[in-house]
Structures are given as C-alpha cells and as structure tokens.
C-alpha cells in the first residue's frame, strides 16, 4: 500500500534497517580487518598473509565447492519435490489437506534435530539398515551403503532436503492457490490440453513464485553449521566446519584465516541476497 503521508521522514525507515543490520555490518568490518591481520587473535599488523594462505590452500576451494554442491543439490531436490507436491495435492479433499499438513510438519523440527534424525535413520546400524535386515536385503551393517559422513554428502543432502521441503512446499501451496487457477483457466479456454496447460501456465507460475524462496533456502543451507557438523565428512571439509576449525585452532596465527573464510561465506550469502532481491523484484513487477 502507498504511504499516505509523504512528509513522514524517510530517514526513520533507513535508520531502522541500519539498526537491524548494524551488528552484521560491524561483524563484516571486523572480519575484513581481521583478514588483513589488523584485529583479532594473533593480529600482527596490516598483512596479506591470511588471505594468501587461505586462497592458496586447496582445502578452501574443495570445501567451498563441496558446500555449494550440497546447497545446490538439496535446494534443487526440495524445490522439485515442493513443486510436485503442490501440483499433486492442490485439491480440497481430505486426503489433499492431510498430505499438505504432512508435507509441512517437519517445519517445526529444529535443524540440529533433523541432523540427529538423519544420523540415526541413515547410519549403517540405523533404522533404514534395520528395516533392510528385516526385509532380508542385508545381513550385516556393512552391507548398508555409507550415507552419513560420506564423501558425496548423500545423508547431508537428504537431511537438508527433508528439512527445507516444508518451507518451500508451504510457499508452493500458496503460489498455486493464489495464481494458478486463473492462468490455467485462460490456457484451457485457448484450447491447451492438460500437459500444455501444465507446461505453459502452472510450471512458470510455480517457478517464478518459488525462485526467491529457493534462493533464500540455498543461502541458508550453504551457511548451516549444525547439520554439517553431524553429517558431513572430514574430507572435504564443509566451509562452515573449516571456518570453525580455523577459528578454534590452538595456534593463534591460524585463527586469522577464519576471517578470510568468513568473508568467503559472506560473499556467497551476499550473492544470495542480491539474487533474492533481483528475482523478488522481477516477480513483483511481473517481468
């Protein structure tokens, strides 16, 4: 809605936003100075040493790539499942309502509990392995594929998909309820069949509506620490774990490297914020 009072000082709104973001901005400046060894544990005065060490270390790049892979895979899976669920369960029958409720239930589960659940269900002696044994599919825990702390992060991806699906499904349900029927009706009245209506009307509406939220999920997942701490392998080390390892290192000189890693993580997040704002604006203006 338009602001009815144009004389209201706009500075108050900007000030409020700066106050909300203030601690993050202060942290950003501190991390920036820490990267140049100006402040923080083991600071020795202006130097590029921390930056050079971190950027030359292959662990940094493998960790970053691995983190991006995990975030990309889990966000994609959650987005696809959310879209499929929203399309399949759009009705108003009891079974649809029940299924929608079931889809959003894990929303209430904290990430650390989701990580614990995945660990206990997917480990080689976990619930899945027990069910496989009961179904005569395996005879010992070693028959179960390694799904936790595994190199490809399968367990981590499954846990994050399980945790992020409810949020995206909730958005998808809302998008399809608000914007789907009118466009589909138009497509049908123009002679489009079921498949064509889905491809030309339903899918684009869902995609545009979900994209900002999917980017938000990607950003969040890329920076998540606790689920990675429970399910990620020690090599390659996920970016949040690598940062924590460096920041708590007993050698003070190494701790400065954590600031560079923080800036790297913030860069990923800022890209996410920019992409989020850009896509949200596109969706808002209907471009």
């Amino acid at each position: 809605m338009e602001n009815p009072d144009p004389r209201e000082p706009e500075v108050k709104g900007l000030l409020a936003a700066i106050l909300v973001a203030g601690p993050v901005l202060v942290g950003l400046v501190y991390s920036l100075l820490g990267s140049f060894s100006v402040v923080g544990p083991g600071a020795t005065g202006f130097s590029l040493r921390h930056i050079q060490v971190v950027l030359a270390d292959s662990t940094t790049w493998w960790g970053t790539l691995w983190t991006v892979w995990i975030a990309l895979a889990s966000t994609t899976l959650a987005t696809v499942f959310a879209m499929g669920t929203a399309v399949a369960l759009r009705g108003e029958r009891g079974v649809d309502r029940f299924a929608r409720l079931a889809a959003v239930m894990p929303l209430a589960v904290p990430h650390v509990v989701a990580g614990l659940g995945a660990l206990l269900v997917l480990s080689q002696s976990g619930l899945l392995a027990r069910l496989a044994f009961a179904a005569n599919l395996q005879t010992s825990p070693s028959d179960m594929p390694v799904l936790t702390q595994d190199r490809y992060g399968i367990g981590l991806i499954l846990a994050l998909t399980w945790k992020e699906l409810p949020f995206l499904a909730l958005i998808a349900f809302s998008v399809i309820a608000r914007r789907g029927p009118a466009l589909e009706e138009t497509a049908r009245s123009l002679g489009a069949g079921a498949l064509r209506t889905f491809r030309a009307a339903t899918l684009p509406v869902l995609w545009r509506g979900l994209l900002p939220s999917s980017i938000a999920v990607f950003t969040f997942v890329a920076g998540n620490y606790e689920v990675a701490a429970l399910l990620a392998p020690s090599s390659p080390l996920a970016l949040p774990l690598l940062t924590m390892e460096r920041y708590t290192d007993s050698a003070l000189g190494v701790r400065g490297e954590a600031f560079v890693l923080v800036l790297l993580a913030m860069l990923v997040s800022l890209c996410g914020v920019a992409a989020h704002e850009w896509t949200a604006n596109k969706v808002e203006t209907g471009e």
């Binding site: 079931a102 660990l119 027990r130 993580a265």
Partner: protein, 265 residues
C-alpha cells in the same frame, strides 16, 4: 485439467506422513529405550531413565533446557517488539529506499550464523558480555530481529494506514494510536512474530557456541555433545524436547511462517 487419480494421491499422502513422522517416532522410541542393538526393529528394554531429569532439577539436560527456554522466550519477546517498529518504518518507505532497507534487514537472516558469530564475538567480548547469558541473548536477537522485521514489513505493506489517520483526526496522540488502534489490530501478528523469534533462538548453535564460550549451555549444544559422546539415547531425548516447543508454538500461532510469503514470495 485432468483430475489426479485418487490412488497415487493417497500413496503420496502416506509417503509424506511416513517421511515426516518416522524419524521423529524413532527419536521418541530411542529416548525411552535402554538397549536397542542392530538389527532389532524394537528395543529389547524400555526405560524412563533418560527422562528422569524431569524430576531432578540438577541434571545437565534440565539446566540447559532452562537456559534454552529463557533465551528463546526473551529473544522472542524482544525481537517481536523491536521488529514491529522496524518493520513498520521500513514498510513506510517507497521505491529504492524500501528495497534497500529490506535488503539490509535481510542481511541478519542471510549471513551464515557462524560468520555472524565470529563477527559479533569481538564486540561482545570487548563489552564483557562474552560467556554470559546476556551476550548470548543479544546474539540470538540479531538474526531473530531480521526475521521479525521482514515479517512486519510484510504485514505493514498491506496495513490500512487510514485507521491510524482516523484515530489521529479524532484527537488521539501517537501513543494512544499505538496502544488503542495499532497494537490491538496486530495482536495476532505479534504472537506469530514472537513464535518466529522463539524458533530462531531455539535453533541457534554456532552463535551460542562462540558467544557463550562453553559457559552458556543450551539444549542444542547438549544434544551435539551427546552425539559426540555416542550417547544416542540422551541425544534423542534432547531432540524430542527440542521439537516439542516449536511444534506446539507453530500449532498455537497458526503456522506463523505463512505470513512470511508476503515478503519472501
């Protein structure tokens, strides 16, 4: 459009229900079992020992639960009130200023908690709040405030400002408008924002870890240390306890996140 057949829909509903409930049910069963070795599908022995802390206030799990609850309640309260005012002011902006302000408010939500922790640690340690409840509370409020500000920016984006104008034209001052008009109208969003702040605080791990410096022990940290120590039964108990308040709050608040779509979508 061709109607989806009933059977696959029922199958999908059952799969979603199993997927949502099974991991949590496994945690519940694990929390009341004494021995449960592979490949048994059900525990060999049942026990209430993991829950005995409820009757003994001295247990570690009990004190960490108290700290978590106090942090979440305080962070929920503070962030919902501050978010109301911040979101209101941001919603009154227009054009690029509004987009810029929303992007700023999005920062505490988007920046990884670990990066936030490392950035905040310096100022909180310098101010003597490191390793103390108040420092961890302040740290929890930072991301919670980001969420509640965005939430209220969404609420006020569709707020009918004429109601306030009407009250002012009838002689109400700014405080009266807030107390008698705005707050009563926003009672439900305030409860939802409180729930949101509560949930954000409940979920914090790296912030508590680094700002609390091991001196402020919350339930998520306790859960992680149980996992490290291989105490799966206690970890499961902590997991169940951690899930109850968010589940209850979300039900009571009528799924607070539903309103988030105003901003995010």
């Amino acid at each position: 459009m061709k109607r989806t057949r009933a059977l696959p829909r029922v199958g999908l509903a059952v799969a979603l229900a199993i997927g949502a409930i099974l991991p949590l049910a496994f945690l519940v069963v694990l929390s009341v079992s004494a021995e449960w070795f592979y490949p048994a599908l059900l525990p060999g022995q049942w026990t209430s020992a993991n829950w005995n802390f409820l009757g003994r206030g001295s247990a570690v799990i009990f004190s960490s639960l108290g700290t978590s609850a106090a942090l979440a309640l305080s962070a929920g309260f503070a962030s919902s009130i501050a978010g109301l005012f911040a979101g209101r002011e941001i919603a009154r902006l227009q054009g690029w200023r509004r987009r810029f302000a929303v992007a700023l408010a999005f920062l505490p939500v988007a920046v990884p908690p670990l990066a936030l922790s490392i950035g905040l640690q310096y100022s909180l340690l310098r101010s003597g709040m490191g390793g103390r409840f108040i420092g961890v509370l302040f740290a929890h409020i930072v991301p919670a405030l980001g969420y509640t500000t965005l939430f209220f920016a969404g609420i006020f984006a569709v707020f009918d400002w004429r109601v306030e104008d009407e009250a002012r034209s009838l002689g109400a001052n700014r405080f009266d408008v807030l107390r008698r008009v705005t707050l009563p109208l926003l009672r439900r969003p305030l409860v939802e924002a409180f729930a949101l702040g509560f949930l954000v605080s409940c979920a914090q791990v790296p912030l508590t870890l680094l700002i609390g410096q091991g001196l402020v022990n919350t339930l998520p940290l306790e859960l992680m240390s149980y996992v490290s120590a291989g105490q799966d039964h206690l970890a499961a108990t902590a997991g169940v306890i951690l899930t109850i308040p968010p589940l209850a709050l979300l039900i009571v608040a009528g799924l607070a996140v539903r309103r988030l779509r105003v901003v995010i979508a």
